[in-house]
Amino acid sequence: MSKHVVALAREIPPGNRKLVTVRGRPIAIFNIKGEFYGLLNRCPHQGGPMCEGVLTGLIQSDDPGTYQYSRAGEILRCPWHGWEFDVKTGQSWCDPEKVTVRNYPVEVAPGQRVVQGPYVAEKIPVTLEEQYVVVEV
């Protein structure tokens, strides 16, 4: 595992996402209310590109005619067949123990820390004043 600087934090405002490639892996980075999460850009079902999925909420119901809507913006639906995943963990709603999108730890680091290493940042010019998105792969 190594840490890779993949974007300026301000490039990905809350509710947005960016597709990056780290060590050959396509990874979708999401900003959910200021927290960053990384998921492999490949649905475990048929391989749909997760980065292009809609972020929605979780709808639950105890009985036809009633529903609860929660976790707005935290549920990622595959852009192909609509399977639902928790963007924070990669777990599916249909079978959370067994069906998951691989997730990668993501953090925001200041430029001052990034320049000291051991981060890998060959594609992103780093300045001391900026905040950076760092993914661990």
Partner: protein, 367 residues
Amino acid sequence: MSQSLLDRAAQRPARLGVIDCDVHHALRSPKDIHPYLSRKWRDHLATYGSRRPVPFIGSSPYFKSAPALSRKDTWPPDGGPPGSDLKFLQEQLLDRYGIETGMLHLLSISGMDQRNQEFGAALCRAINEWQYAEWTQHDRRLKAAIVVPGEDAPAAVREIEHWAGNKDFAQVSMVTHTIEPLGRRRYWPIYEAAAAHNLPIGLHTSGYNGHAVTPTGWSSYYAEEHHEVAISQQALVTSLVCEGVLARNPTLRVVLVEAGVAWVAPLCWRLDQHWRRMRDEVPYLDRPPSTYIKTQMWFTTQPMDEPEKPEHLSKMLDWVGWDRLLFATDYPHWDFDDPETAIKIPLTEQQRRMLFRDNARAAYNLD
């Protein structure tokens, strides 16, 4: 559930070349069809509009789970709806998966559904001209279907005869939700013409006849209706067999599109059971009904069934018969089957060849 996942599947790039038996192209704008309509019918369209036998005025009776029913990543970067940009379709489907032939089915506009049948016939001709000029002439991998105004059989036969012999058209296409079941006599001249010109009939789930897709009334949810198209296709197969369409046209070939395949085996068993008991009601069927189905009909696999245990799918496909299966992606629609990941069972080399290519060559009489 876990058994249907990618990481348990053998990833198999379909290197041998795939014939995709369900590809949806689309008009970029309804105006695209205008140059192919006469002045009279352009004026008619502008004044009276496209009127289909739909109970939901101004909307589609079909549910949508995604805009334009499509995968979110299929909207062309240069604009227009999914399927309307040839270059993007080539990139995302034909080149990406090594598709050697793609069978086009146009759903976004239909001549057969028009309540004004004369306009419907003119629209079918215009659509066919458009498909020929703007799709098949730009990519030889794409084969169009001759769309016909099937509720007016003489006009449909004229349309078939106009295009017959043109190798850019691989089949004759009709909607499946029709005024009468498609086995009825009013449609027989169409089957005779198709058989005479060695063209299969391609029946993609589509069309409006004012009835619900299900025989039990209008369903509330797409989760219900998406499956119910398979039930309507069973009724269609039953009609074609029991009315004697296949028996009296022994060279006729029929392809059922976008209803899956798992239902075919039990339908064959049930029809054969009925035939043993009630054969004298349909005495022109001199062989068990499954015999006609298993020699004259093919079925596209999408949407592929995903049983909990993959080996159950293997058994099911054995029962249907490997020589009846045609692979289809349904690109760009949201229930797309990926050629590399949709079939999560091991295939023998022969099964792979049949499913992805060779059966289609037989069904469509491709060189």
